[in-house]
């Protein structure tokens, strides 16, 4: 009797969340998979069932692989730079520097601004003629360094810099909040043992930050894989050049982009399904790597 009551209670408590998750998360995912088995433009009532053909085409699609290359470029290169800088700031701000709150706010600030506004702001900075970057370089008589930052050759790297600037603050604050919770005693012991700053950071801070770092990396993986707004707005909200066709940009182009969409909703759904699979695989990899090192309880 008691067991049955417990079972009913669990079902009752879980049901609202479960229904919500089913309707708004799980059902669209299954629906996307179902759509990916059709040749469909999103307008027609005639959906042609083509089985796995969209997936076969995807494997042969050079533009899709190019979009993956760009996405993983942002994920890996951007990730390394962002976490390097975030750790650098964390290390710096845990030394007891004055004005920490002020600098933390400044560094975090880009995260509270709309991605669209940030992207437009950066296009002005990068403008080859009147952009602040080139104006400063020319004023310093460094004309040879004044480049066409948003030209085809450099646009990926220019976007990367802007993305790092945008996201580093968020990850810095995340890591700093974890670092600040580490008891001072650990560092005192380290000092007594003769550890220098470098050793203390790697032997004390990082192991004790392991759980926060795990969440931060997962968050960055998901952010990088579904990055769209910034890339879209950076190129004027019009046609995104091939150099910035990330996986998400390509998916929007395929399905229902504002201008120049290909209207291949079935094919676009196949890209979306692959994206979900990639996210799951990457999260699993990160989990495996992070689990390999036990987090330290304190």
């Amino acid at each position: 009797m008691k067991k049955k009551f417990k079972f009913n209670s669990i079902i009752l408590l879980v049901l609202p969340a479960l229904l919500f998750y089913t309707i708004f998360m799980f059902a669209p995912m299954v629906s996307s998979f179902a759509l990916s088995l059709y040749n469909w433009n999103g307008f027609s009532k005639n959906m042609e069932f083509i089985g796995m053909q969209n997936y076969i085409n995807l494997v042969k699609d050079a533009d899709y692989w190019n979009s993956l290359r760009i996405t993983f470029g942002i994920l890996i290169i951007g990730g390394i730079v962002i976490f390097f800088l975030a750790f650098l700031f964390t290390a710096f701000f845990t030394t007891g520097i004055k004005g920490k709150k002020f600098f933390r706010t400044i560094i975090f600030y880009p995260m509270v601004i709309s991605q669209i506004a940030l992207a437009i702001f950066w296009t002005f900075l990068y403008n080859p003629r009147f952009g602040l970057i080139n104006v400063i370089l020319r004023a310093m008589h460094l004309d040879f360094l004044a480049k066409t930052w948003t030209g085809k050759d450099l646009i990926f790297w220019s976007v990367m810099v802007a993305l790092v600037w945008t996201y580093v603050g968020f990850f810095f604050v995340l890591l700093l909040s974890g670092a600040e919770k580490i008891p001072k005693d650990f560092y005192d012991v380290g000092k007594v043992e003769g550890a220098n700053r470098f050793n203390m950071f790697f032997k004390v801070t990082i192991p004790l930050l392991w759980d926060v770092l795990y969440i931060a990396i997962i968050f960055w993986v998901i952010t990088a894989l579904k990055l769209f707004e910034f890339l879209f707005a950076f190129t004027g909200g019009s046609t995104v050049p091939k150099e910035l066709w990330s996986n998400s940009v390509y998916m929007v182009l395929l399905t229902f982009g504002r201008q120049g969409a290909f209207y291949k909703l079935g094919y676009g759904s196949a890209v979306a399904v692959f994206l979900v699979i990639f996210i799951l695989i990457l999260v699993a990899i990160v989990r495996l790597i992070m689990r390999a090192r036990e987090s330290v309880e304190y």
Partner: protein, 476 residues
């Protein structure tokens, strides 16, 4: 516990399957075969039955709330809603550029609009294959303009209906509402300062150094470069803007529609071997090799290029008639007099310099519309002389109706239009004359390379042909 989890999972999957099954069902949009639709349309034209029940016509528009064009269009809606013999009212949805996504949602929810405003190309792509758009040929041929004794089809400006709004099969599905031809723009005050013109700079007489031929165009560019002025400004960060050069050269050299013909009607790529395409590519190569395009053009993220141009960074800008409004605030602060001239042609070339490339948009009536007569009558209200004049003078754009004076900023353009010999669709710009996927994957990236001088004309043709064949092979 395992049983509970299993139970929960089964329930979850069952609900998902139910939802997916529902969402994948085809929409309840009533469609008919093309033949039936045409017959129905003819019948509708002949009847003038007044609906007994009030009818609401949902109008899904590309216009955005707050735009001047929208405000003017609202007057036509108000006019219709206040006085029509169909007991009908038009309810607009101002969707802006999100209009395709909105249409998708409305179609899938089984509540399509009755009237849909977008580009003719995309109306053909989205609605025509399923018989969702009503052919308007009979309406156009048999209906008089609103309260006038002239057929509506005879009121549109040159080529608008025939060249911009017809489907590939020759049927008209789009009632023209906007059009934007593309010409070279320049500041006459600046041109006088530079010695390019001394007087009015008439585009027809090609006063001063205003070019009417390709050799004269090259002379002008050399002259400007010699003066230290960038001859051409282009928002080359937008790849479909730069395609206008290659597109125009193709159609000047081989005649209107040459590029479209080669792209759409020949998967083998044999037509690309036509020497005209190489000649067109060489013309673009000449522009690139001589550095006539402003430095850093490929880094411009729209609207940086046109703003720079309006600030006097270069001499001319090839763009559609929507551009002057976009830079109005910048030019207001300068000594500015709008000048325009058409893309030059040359002796021996097929196309005239008065064949203008243009964009258009318009409205389609959907087959589910409860009263097509009423819907068409509403569209007729947007073509009255009064409405078109209001549109022209308040929105500062060109009217779709003949004989409506152009705004002052289009004084030169008005002269060009008076001599217009033909109209063809802009190739790169959205709405696109070429298939959007082809443009995005093949034509635009390659044309970019050519325009920015990164590949030669010969390489461009070679790579174009290879990628063209690969594109169609992959599409099969």
């Amino acid at each position: 516990m395992k049983k509970i989890i299993l139970f929960v999972l089964v329930i979850t999957i069952a609900i998902s399957m139910l939802l997916v099954g529902t969402s994948c069902k085809t929409t309840a949009v009533e469609t008919t075969t093309a033949g039936e639709t045409a017959a129905e349309t003819t019948a509708v034209v002949e009847t003038t039955a007044v609906a007994e029940e009030p009818i609401e016509l949902v109008f899904l528009s590309i216009e955005a709330e707050g735009d001047k064009a929208t405000e003017v269009l609202k007057t036509a809606i108000e006019d219709f809603n206040n006085d029509n013999e169909y007991n009908a009212t038009v309810t607009p949805i101002w969707a802006g550029l999100e209009v395709p996504a909105k249409l998708q949602a409305m179609l899938q929810s089984g509540e399509p609009p009755d009237i849909f405003q977008y580009s003719p190309e995309l109306i053909s792509e989205m609605l025509v294959p399923d018989g969702l758009a009503v052919p308007l040929d009979d309406f156009m041929a048999n209906t008089n303009a609103y309260k006038e004794e002239v057929k509506i089809k005879d009121l549109f400006v040159t080529g608008l209906l025939e060249n911009l709004c017809k489907d590939k099969d020759g049927t008209i599905y789009t009632f023209p509402m906007r059009w934007y031809p593309q010409v070279f723009w320049y500041n006459k005050a600046y041109a006088r300062e530079l010695g390019v013109i001394s007087g009015e700079g008439d585009p027809i007489a090609a006063d001063g150094m205003i070019p009417d031929t390709w050799p004269k165009f090259m002379e002008l560019c050399d002259y400007l470069k010699g003066k230290g002025v960038a001859p051409i400004v282009a928002d080359a960060g937008i790849n479909y803007y730069t395609l206008s050069y290659f597109g125009y050269f193709c159609d000047r050299i081989m005649g209107m529609g040459a590029l479209r013909e080669a792209v759409e009607n020949d998967p083998t790529g044999a037509k690309i071997d036509d020497p005209g395409f190489l000649e067109a590519a060489k013309c673009v190569e000449t522009i690139a090799q001589n550095d006539w395009v402003i430095e850093g053009a490929d880094g411009y993220q729209w609207p940086a290029g046109q703003i720079d141009w309006a600030n006097g960074a270069g001499f001319m800008l090839l763009l559609h008639t929507f551009m002057p409004q976009q830079v109005a605030e910048v030019v207001a602060e300068r000594d500015w007099e709008w000048g325009a001239f058409p893309f030059p042609s040359n002796e021996g070339w097929e196309g005239s310099r008065f064949d203008l490339d243009a964009l258009a948009n318009g409205a389609a009536i959907l087959t589910n519309c409860p009263n097509k007569d009423a819907a068409f009558n509403f569209l007729l209200r947007t073509m009255t002389a009064e409405y078109q004049s209001k549109y022209s003078q308040e929105v500062l754009q060109l009217a779709c109706r003949q004989g409506i004076p152009a705004p002052e900023i289009f004084k030169d353009l008005e002269k060009i239009l008076a001599n217009q010999t033909g109209t063809f669709r802009t190739y790169g710009m959205t709405p696109q004359a070429l298939p959007s996927e082809y443009n995005a994957k093949v034509m635009l990236p390659l044309d970019d390379e050519l325009f920015l001088g990164k590949i030669s004309a010969e390489d461009f043709i070679k790579q174009w042909k290879e990628q063209h064949i690969a594109f169609y092979a992959a599409a099969q």
